[in-house]
Amino acid sequence: MKLYDQIFDVVKQFRKLFSPGPVTNADVSGSITAEIFLIVSLVLSAILLRHVNVLLAGLVTLIVAILLISNIPLIPKFKIEQEDSLEKMIFYAVLVLALLVTFMYWGGNLV
């Protein structure tokens, strides 16, 4: 029942996402689609790890699926991270740069 309640609460939480302004059916259903799409596509891309190691792929897929489903609704949290204020964008840009350089310098030959 807990999971059911959580899914039911999702719709209420989406209301905050679209404030200020009215919330229409189309917007809420779009957000729910986005939610499902996000979970399914991330799990699906986790399966791609099977080209590295089958056991690892299974583990990662399970962990990602459990983590994502137990944390719904994802989209409001997700959208806060994806807003276009300069601080967040620069932070993510520099983070990606640091990860890329670190990964390539020490792990570029592992693949």
Binding site: T24, S41, E83, M104
Partner: protein, 484 residues
């Protein structure tokens, strides 16, 4: 007639300078801009394939090692360049035509920026010299910022400044990567560098070489608006004038493919390169489409969709076979045209209603049937519905990923197409089919004829490419065979 090859860059560049110098003469400027804009798609069609060495410095043969060196900045013009430059030129012509008919008094600086951007992307796709590409990449960034800042939409200056600050992190990092390559090979010519890598003059597993890939790759992420730059890219699309946004996205696509082709030629021997490209492309597809689903501002929504579609191009290139790269480049050509159609069409809606929030719109179909039908077909083409052009390239991509042994990627590509379709149908319903809200006034507001004309031209190209994809794909396939 290889003299025409440099003219593709020089004509828009000179036109830009002349227009900004003589923008006081309104009538003359209009006629001049129109004539130059007509020439832009015609020059690549008339020109022959071949190479052009600036300054006439032919390649030199080193007698000791037997290696050819390219001392001059080289422009290479093949079928891919021809088709892409022609598409961008046509788009520039349509955008300038819309702009000239929309405003009585033309602004010289704005036309200057449009022509400058076109010249910059043309040079980027033609050039065989990595530093030359970087210079035009910076010029392109300045032109993009100018186009955004020149629009009369609220908060466009803020968005321009954000884009510029992120750009001034991205471009020096890319310059640093070019510096690493220069330190390794002593050359900036892509052919020379690729030859040095493939003949084993450079150790392809050395950390310095890998680091240069990381740094240039970061610059590429900035140029193409893949994550983490997807928010700013969709932001600048939504803050530019609609016809400007149509041109901006074509600049993005062309700069993306020109840099990625150069990277592919240099780094294709490293398996990590393809992994990186596929990883960021998948991320772009997921983030772009899922964020597009939650937007209420439809210009922002199209911006995110455009970023999501870029993922398909990256996917095709990351898979690394002849067929998949052909599919990716064909998708790039389709995206230039389809997204331009959507931006112009939604721009026409903005023009007619002065409203960008989907929740406050409705019932436009009855008032503007032509625009609505054309937008519907454009959206279906983007989602990949047969027999339109988007279907052909996406089908090729799915087939390519299946034949490479990645069924997950093809499932993901189909899912992203379906989600794109959902986004589009949802927006189409709320904007065009839903009953009209009472406070929305649609009476007596006309869509400019030039916009309808531009959409019609783009639509014809979409349908033709959808029915006869072989016209383009066979030529692109030959080009890809040359770089593999």
């Amino acid at each position: 007639m290889n003299e025409l090859i440099p003219l593709m860059v020089i004509v828009p560049l000179m036109a830009a300078l002349l227009i900004s110098a003589f923008s006081k003469l309104n009538k003359v400027t209009k006629i001049f801009a129109f004539v130059v804009a007509i020439c832009l798609p015609l020059i690549p069609l008339l020109s022959n394939y071949g190479l052009h060495y600036f300054g006439g410095y032919e390649p030199m043969l080193d007698n000791v090692t037997g290696i050819m060196y390219h001392p001059a900045i080289t422009y290479s013009f093949t079928f891919l360049q021809q088709i892409i430059i022609c598409a961008v030129g046509l788009l520039t012509f349509l955008v300038i035509f819309i702009y000239l008919t929309k405003y009585k008094k033309v602004s010289g600086p704005y036309l200057f920026l449009l022509f400058l951007g076109t010249a910059a992307v043309t040079a980027m796709i033609l050039t065989d010299d990595i530093f030359h590409m970087f210079v035009f990449f910076e010029i392109l960034a300045l032109a993009q910022v100018g186009i955004v800042a020149a629009s009369s939409i609220d908060f466009s200056y803020e968005m321009a400044l954000k884009y510029m600050i992120l750009g001034s992190i991205g471009s020096p990092i890319m310059l640093l990567g070019i510096g690493f390559l220069l330190a390794l090979t002593g050359s900036v010519n892509v052919t020379d560098i690729a030859l040095a890598v493939h003949t084993g003059l450079i150790d392809a597993t050395s950390p310095v070489f890998l680091l240069s890939l990381a740094l240039i790759f970061f610059g590429w992420l900035y140029a193409s608006g893949l994550p983490p730059f997807h928010t700013i890219k969709s932001g600048i699309y939504s803050k530019a004038e609609p016809h400007g946004a149509a041109l901006l996205q074509s600049f993005t696509v062309v700069s993306m493919i020109s840099i990625v082709i150069i990277m592919f030629r240099i780094y294709s021997s490293l398996p990590i390169f393809e992994v990186l490209v596929v990883f960021f492309s998948i991320l772009a597809m997921i983030l772009g489409v899922s964020l597009a689903l939650t937007q209420t501002d439809f210009r922002r929504m199209i911006g995110f969709l455009a970023v999501g579609e870029l993922g398909f191009i990256g996917l095709g290139i990351g898979l690394g076979t002849n067929f998949s790269i052909t599919a990716g480049l064909f998708q790039a050509l389709n995206e230039i045209i389809i997204t331009a159609l959507l931006f112009i069409g939604f721009g026409a809606v903005v023009h007619a209603t002065n409203e960008v929030d989907t929740r406050k719109l409705g019932g436009i179909l009855a008032y503007h049937p032509k625009v609505s039908i054309m937008l519907l077909i454009g959206g279906l083409a983007m989602a990949g519905v047969p027999p339109l052009s988007g279907f052909q390239s996406k089908l090729m991509l799915v087939q390519a990923s299946l034949s490479c042994g990645f069924p997950e990627i093809s499932i993901l590509a189909i899912m992203v197409s379906i989600a794109t379709f959902v986004v589009f149908v949802k927006t189409y319903y709320t904007m065009f089919l839903k009953p009209k809200p009472n406070d929305l006034d649609l009476e007596g507001k006309e869509v400019p004829k030039s916009m309808v004309f531009a959409m019609g031209v783009l639509l014809i190209i979409i349908i033709l490419l959808g029915i006869f994809p072989d016209v383009v794909t066979s030529g692109i396939s030959n080009f890809v065979g040359g770089i593999l």
